[in-house]
């Protein structure tokens, strides 16, 4: 069965410093992996998506993530945090049961950015 674990429930960084949000997955197949961002009381916005092409995936707003099969990880990074990056981030793995597009969400990592 597929699962996803976000290793930190809360990460705090200073503006201008790097961001690292960690995600590990479990899958019997080659998974599709996603990162979504959610600002308070808003819907989820897709940041980036991995579907077995290049292992380093670039997303919007300067974020990128690297798929590492040997480590079963898909960590999200950004070289320099901006105040507007403060939000909750969800790592998501595709559920390969049947042919339906079911997604399995991590519990989220809340990113705080200090001035």
């Amino acid at each position: 069965a597929q699962s996803v674990t976000q290793l930190d429930s809360h990460v705090s960084v200073s503006e201008g410093t790097p961001v690292l949000l960690r995600c590990n997955y479990s899958s019997s197949y080659s998974p599709s992996l996603f990162w979504y961002v959610q600002h308070p009381n808003k819907g989820l916005q897709l940041l980036l998506k991995y579907t077995s092409a290049a292992t380093l995936v670039k997303g919007i707003n300067g974020f990128e993530a690297e798929f590492k099969k040997s480590e079963t990880s898909f960590h999200l990074t950004k070289p320099s945090a901006h105040m507007s990056d403060a939000a909750e981030y969800f790592c998501v793995v595709s559920d390969l049961r049947g042919s339906q597009g079911n997604l399995i969400f991590g519990k989220g990592t809340k990113l705080s950015v200090k001035p």
């Binding site: 599709s32 996603f34 979504y36 009381n41 808003k42 819907g43 989820l44 916005q45 897709l46 998506k49 579907t51 969800f90 595709s94 559920d95 390969l96 042919s99 339906q100 597009g101 079911n102 997604l103 969400f105 991590g106 519990k107 989220g108």
Partner: protein
Amino acid sequence: SQTIHQWPATLVQPVGSPLSLECTVEGTSNPNLYWYRQAAGRGLQLLFYSVGIGQISSEVPQNLSASRPQDRQFILSSKKLLLSDSGFYLCAWSVTPASTDTQYFGPGTRLTVL
């Protein structure tokens, strides 16, 4: 371009009252539609998905039901709300039902049951 709408944005309802949340998608035909619930401190839980009009699959047995009366309309309902139904409800759509396909989310409805 495609857009997804949800309403109402917020809702406060007493226990035992009925519920109807609506989701509509514009700019695409025959989308796959999804209802998720996000409870405090937890990830998103898939409640229902639909691959076509009148075709609803339920992921979790619960007090809720879903209907798809039109191609781009997805409704979440309850006859009698429970306290545990409180949460943030998100509708999403995708082009195909494939697990590799991106799902696009609406702005959500915050439901508080008192």
